[in-house]
Amino acid sequence: MTNPSPEPLLSLFNVNTFYGQAQVHFDLSITVARGHIVCLLGGNASGKSTTMKIILGLVKPRSGEVTFDGASLIGLTTPQIVRRGIASVPEARRLFADMSVRENILMGAFVRNDREAVALDLDRMLTLFPKLGQRLSQRAGSLSGGEQQMVAMARALMSRPRMIVMDEPTMGLSPLYVDRVLELIRSINQAGVSVFMVEQNASLALEIAHEAYVLQTGRIVLSGPARALKDDPRVRDAYLGGSEAA
């Protein structure tokens, strides 16, 4: 399917997921190569967000395998998975609204015990997200959507992850912030962090991703290098769910 660059950092293989009786994923297989940005595209209720939850251990698949850096993630709790080096930027940011911006960012370093290095990383975040400097003691819930997204990304980076998973990082943001977020994802990736993002916003995601998968009602209907998919009319068809692309 995708170009077989180095051994994959993350792989999902033949994952089947159910909510009660309803099947959400049908033999879902996805790989994220080291150092790559991979995006998962799809419309509402296609099973995108559930894929995120599977990786993070928030939802257990009924069958299939999920491996990270060669070791299985199945059966691990979310905190254990986070300690393996996966950080997340959840859908709609999910900041700790009543905690300060500083506390939110530092919560990202919860799994770390090296206080001095954490303090240095906090400074690094403030150079990366200069706007947050003036807002450190403000309640996170009082920030605008775009600022919250910055906090969420800073928070995710604070654990020094090997991979970040993001759920619709551009959702509900104004165009200027969208650009900024995309730039940031690129620079995070260039610093060596692999990125797996779930997006509805196909054109943007394909702009920065290395590979992409298109999910339709729980099945991968299209996948390949982002460059190739960008101009593929099937993306639009499959994704908007109209034609019987499957």
Partner: protein
């Protein structure tokens, strides 16, 4: 679009804010009798919030809703159901422990007459008494509704009829969506709001649902539809309204809207050319 009569449903400047976010931003909308209008737009555009405002589950901060000429802004959902507005829910809200039959019968609740005399004050007590005594009129009404429910379920072919006595929680996702629509039809609605009726359905099931909605439209039902599957929207809708970030960004016949660059942008993603004036609002 110019109707001679007052439209069935009309929204004016409808607005709902949650904290700093304006989920529905000054929406105007007119829906004529027998029309099918679709609302499309990306996730988080405010479509479901709009439905909640129309059906009384949420109150607008601003603006008005009129239904058949009368102001229904802020009325309770119970009242609006009695007025003939029925809806389905995005995530599928069936009554899990009720059988398929009972779920759909709840839809007919506002049509109960024999067992629910409209007497002030002691009406509820009479209802209790009649439910226990069950005179012939009550039994006949119940029987008639049960037959009607079967007829409604028959519209879904063999999907629901064989499962009529099963609890709803045991149904597949697609079947729960069907139960919801059956429940809405049992209300004999004058206005039907469908919130993503085909979400989570495969292409065959989607085609079936599309057929059903087309039938309902042909029967003269007025329908407001939220749907992501554009193909279906194009085939069914008289008009399409596109929402993004709480605002109406386009309105018109399906093909026209589909070609609108603003719509493609909203749907497939704000290209990098986006307008920047919203920055301060974000």
């Amino acid at each position: 679009m110019a109707e001679q009569h007052a439209p069935m449903l009309s929204l004016r400047g409808l607005t709902r804010r949650f904290g700093g976010l304006t989920a529905v931003d000054a929406i105007d909308l007119d829906l004529g009798k027998g029309e099918l209008v679709s609302i499309i737009g990306p996730n988080g555009a405010g479509k479901t919030t709009l439905f909640n405002l129309v059906t009384g589950l949420d109150r607008p901060d601003d603006g008005a809703v009129r239904f058949e000429g009368q102001d229904i802004t802020g009325l309770s959902p119970e009242r609006l159901a009695a007025e003939g507005i029925a809806r389905t829910f995005q995530l599928g809200r069936v009554f899990g422990n009720l059988s398929v039959m009972d779920n759909v019968l709840i839809g007919a609740h506002t049509r109960l007459r024999a067992v629910k005399p409209t007497v002030p004050v002691i009406g509820p007590l009479l209802e209790l008494g009649l439910a226990l005594l069950r005179p012939a009129s009550v039994r006949a009404e119940e029987e008639r509704l049960r037959e009607e429910v079967k007829a409604i379920l028959a519209r879904f072919g063999e999907r629901l009829l064989p499962r009529i006595d099963q609890p709803a929680y045991s149904l597949s996702y697609a079947n729960r969506r069907r139960v919801e629509i059956a429940r809405a039809l049992a209300l004999r609605p004058r206005l039907l709001l469908l919130d993503e009726p085909t979400a989570g359905m495969n292409p065959t099931e989607t085609a079936e649902m599309q057929g059903l909605v087309a039938e309902l439209k042909a029967e003269g039902l007025t329908i407001l539809l939220i749907e992501h599957k554009l193909e279906m929207v194009m085939r069914l809708s008289d008009r399409v309204i596109v929402m993004d970030e709480g605002k109406k960004i386009a309105e018109g016949p399906g093909e026209e809207v589909r070609g609108d660059p603003k719509v493609i942008e909203a749907y497939l993603g704000h290209g990098l050319s986006g307008t920047t004036e919203q920055e301060s609002a974000a």
